[in-house]
Symmetry: C2
Subunit: 246 residues, 2 copies
């Protein structure tokens, strides 16, 4: 049995046309499926309108109390419920979840040394309550995860959506043939001299492309996660556009 | 078998001390239970900080697109997830829900005549998916409802929390002995010349107290809902403080 885990980020969430197209593709997928979504510009916009400064360290956001509140309002509130409602309108029974709901993803606040990223949660292999989520899938319910989890002590924590998607993929790979699909607005990873994205990527090839600077920035953790997932039992990892044939 | 449905409003949500006390009481309740929460000042605060005007008609708020977004962010986002996380920390497995989640409360946008209240949802007896919610209760999961529902067409709608609580009570009364508990910061309904709240209230007595102006304002729909619930099979309705013995 297959389980398809889709992850969409800001560039899909923020663009109504891309989002509609994605949701159509998602709904047409006949297998058990999970959606994990990231943020989008709304959180940054809201922080700006509320005069809350964005604190960064080496390109990564630091989450203080005010930033967490915005993340929870935007990700767990507006974005999550909008997606769930859009799926409901398409006759998909979706259920929006943070990690606190059903205690289904219990994270650990990141060690403040050497850099204190604030209210950010990291996942361990035991973070995911597979039984709880599997129970939902068995009832043909589609879990829709926002990038917010919760510590054992009940602290809500900002958590990277790519990480949630790959942790879910790893946790379910003993049970299902898991296909992990990072959906975004580019076609995939393209090499110089070619106008078609790579259809396959090995770890050796990745190392080379990284050295050559073709895979860079935000793609690095994405590809690292993808390779790690494949090496840990996930059946297939896909990085590319929504319109692709499933 | 009993089902206890607790409804808390802004005066409980906004006061950390009252909220902690309520959550302790709630967790100690041994029966199947549901929590329905209202808003609080946070939504009004956020609207003010974002310069979004609050439009009212005869003391009732009109929900335009911007107001809905704030309601969803604050109620379905921050308030709902904070409650679920606080329950998780108390070892209660709670699940935060809007009506869109699992399509469990499908409402209808209120008729814009004679007054257009905007994106507000009304409930019908068929609004509640009893099977879905019962399934959660059977797994010892505590549903925590925010005052946001969803139309069949996938439109998120602002919905009165008292109404959600009484609709849930009515829907479950054929199956359980339902006790509906409107918890707030006053002791209950007190009559002049007495310092103790009424322990019982009949419809006839309600009519008198209303005529005398002792029951007034926001208490009127609350008591109306309560009496209607009792007359429709709900076992018991309680209006009063958190600290009361269950």
């Amino acid at each position: 049995m297959y389980l398809d885990i889709f992850k969409i980020g800001g560039n899909v969430v923020d663009d109504p046309g891309t989002l509609q197209q994605f949701l159509d593709t998602f709904c047409s997928c006949p297998e058990r499926k999970i959606l994990v979504h990231g943020g989008g510009v709304l959180a940054t916009d809201l922080a700006r309108r509320l005069d809350i400064p964005v604190q960064m360290h080496e390109g990564r956001r630091i989450t203080d109390n005010e930033t967490l509140r915005i993340a929870v309002m935007v990700y767990a509130g507006w974005v999550n419920k909008s997606l769930v409602a859009a799926l409901a309108a398409r006759n998909c029974r979706a259920l929006g979840l943070s990690g606190a709901d059903g205690k289904c993803i219990i994270s650990r606040k990141r060690d403040p040394h050497p850099v204190d990223f604030g209210l950010v949660g990291d996942l361990t292999p035991e973070s995911i309550d597979v039984l709880f989520i599997d129970n939902l899938l068995n009832q043909s319910i589609i879990p829709v995860f926002c990038p917010v989890t919760c510590s054992r002590e009940g602290q809500l924590l900002n958590t990277n959506a790519d990480t949630i998607a790959s942790a879910l993929a790893l946790s379910f790979s003993p049970k299902f043939k898991v296909r992990l699909r990072y959906v975004f607005d580019r076609e995939g990873i393209t090499c110089p001299g070619s106008d078609r994205p790579l259809s396959l990527l090995s770890r050796r090839q990745y190392r080379e492309l990284r050295r050559e600077g073709i895979i860079y920035g935000g793609m690095i953790p994405k590809v690292e996660n993808a390779l790690k997932a494949l090496e840990s039992g996930v059946q297939e990892v896909f990085i590319g556009q929504t319109s692709v044939q499933l």
